[in-house]
Symmetry: C2
Subunit: 321 residues, 2 copies
């Protein structure tokens, strides 16, 4: 749940005067995204999303995120398209914050994705990876293997509050992943957070990908592993082979996976599980009292990590290798 900043009509009307969107009709704060303040914006030109970037998003990264959405939309990906103002830029300032307007996409998040949804996602993710080719900007993935130890160590002493033995398990996993993390896999722009919340459907049809504020350059197969963890397990963390196969097979039909990517997949899935275990663990320890945002349970990702630790090859996921 977001909306940290209020926008009044005077400031908003002045801001809109720099765009060709017609008059203001309505603007309502929406509970979407956890990093920024988002508003449903209705103007004479149609429906849009207005985003005010709060402190958690680095202002220096905004040209990357906005430029990426523009690049992907031009390449046929159904993602929000930033609207340029009269100065020719998508990035403005409103209520003392960097601000942008993007197109509004219809669609809703699927609470219980089935194999057909996973298949639609696999295809869309592969198309996203191909569509990123030729995008001129780059952004390092600060939440990949090189960033995990920095995330963990300041809070390590409290890991056993989540579950006894967790500190040691994470420390050993970090050692192994830092040593064995695959290098030089096919890479490019990845979404890096393609959870069900960020994928819109209209019935069985995937209607949009949203929230590109973790996008960065990294291995494509790592992005696939993040979505594999997010979409192909049930609520208690048990792997669903039908969904896993649907996701990966659909992905491969658009962008084939190399033998090296397949061989690395179980390790990438462990890394992807550790990454969300760590951020959820840190978030769970740092919830302001009385906050309306309920932190996600880190143990869901601990269960997934343990499962991947038991996997020798991608074949064990039921995937043809």
């Amino acid at each position: 749940m977001a909306v940290y900043t209020d926008v009044n009509d005077e400031d908003l009307i002045a801001f809109l005067s720099h765009y060709d969107l017609g008059g203001l009709l309505s603007c309502k704060g929406i509970a979407e995204g956890v990093e920024n303040s988002n508003f449903y914006l209705h103007v004479e030109a149609g429906s849009f999303i207005l985003t005010l970037y709060e402190k958690r998003v680095a202002e220096a990264d905004l040209p990357f995120f906005l430029g990426l959405m523009e690049h992907l939309a031009a390449a046929g990906v159904t993602c929000p398209l930033p609207v340029r103002n009269h100065a020719g830029t998508a990035l403005g300032r409103l209520a003392g914050r960097p601000a942008a307007i993007v197109t509004f996409l219809d669609g809703y998040s699927i609470h219980h994705p089935d194999a057909a949804h996973c298949s639609a996602l696999g295809e869309a993710l592969a198309r996203l990876h191909l569509a990123g080719a030729g995008f001129g900007l780059s952004r390092e993935n600060s939440l990949s293997v090189g960033g995990w130890r920095k995330l963990f160590e300041p809070q390590a002493a409290r890991a056993d509050e989540i579950e006894p033995g967790l500190r040691r398990l994470i420390a050993e996993e970090l050692d192994l992943l830092e040593r064995d993390w695959p290098k030089n896999l096919p890479s490019g722009v990845i979404h890096a957070d393609l959870f069900p919340d960020n994928v819109l459907f209209l019935g069985d049809r995937l209607s949009g990908l949203i929230d590109f504020y973790f996008a960065c350059d990294d291995a494509f197969a790592y992005d696939l592993a993040i979505s594999f963890n997010a979409w192909c397990f049930d609520a208690v963390g048990v792997y669903d082979e039908g969904k896993g196969r649907a996701l990966i097979d659909a992905y491969r039909r658009v962008r084939p996976l190399s033998a090296r990517e397949l061989a690395a997949f179980p390790l990438l899935a462990r890394g992807a599980a550790l990454r969300f275990l760590l951020t959820r663990f840190v978030d769970a320890l740092n919830v302001p009292p009385g906050a309306l945002v309920r932190p996600k349970d880190p143990r869901e990702y601990l269960t997934k990590l343990r499962f991947h630790q038991s996997i020798a090859t991608a074949r064990n996921y039921g995937v043809d290798a």
Copy 2:
């Protein structure tokens, strides 16, 4: 800021199957109203607001609120119109809560209303009072003079935390208002919370009145006094005679005020100031730590109360009596 309850696609689609609104296109939690969870709902039939009623609204009052909006809309007031389901009722159940769908109104709240806005409001408020005639249900105003002492006394010992001497000031004001509160003024359905947040404009044109969840039966002139306090003072609590006159004159052109109503107006304005001073005072003492909702400053209404205490007749507001 609201949205206390999440709604998933499965439950929402099942809920919508009881309405003739076509398929679900989008549903986003919005930060509107403080009592309920509200959602911007886009379906094939258009844009709507979905409201889930949380604990602070008594379920027994919902037929009054929904029936009132239907009655007022039929009488030409631009307010949200509840949508009836196949069973012929506007009240359903979703995510374990009472729920309703109402039409979406374009427009936005005015941060700095001017005299023209106050004039538009005065006319709309008078039309609302006339349009309420013939509505079959009634609801007592629990936040009128009979309810203030109950609100104050449990917290009275802490009043001086807001400002030294406040406990005594409120106690004396309560004694006076309970003794002198005007009886038998022209009455009917009032909105009782027509602050700028609840009035939508498109430019200078008033486009809608929203949030009827304090509506009740009471004196029309008391409703006018509530809006007078909310619209006709500047940010530091100084009365603006131009706005006050614009509001009251526009009201009287549609629904003339009797000599008794005018004579009672300064006392009604004191009561209206005390009512919001009291609820803001109680809210300020009961904010959960870390909550995202910043309580409104009770002292704004203390300043207004003191001003009204200095007023002998409505003429002192610059109003013709």
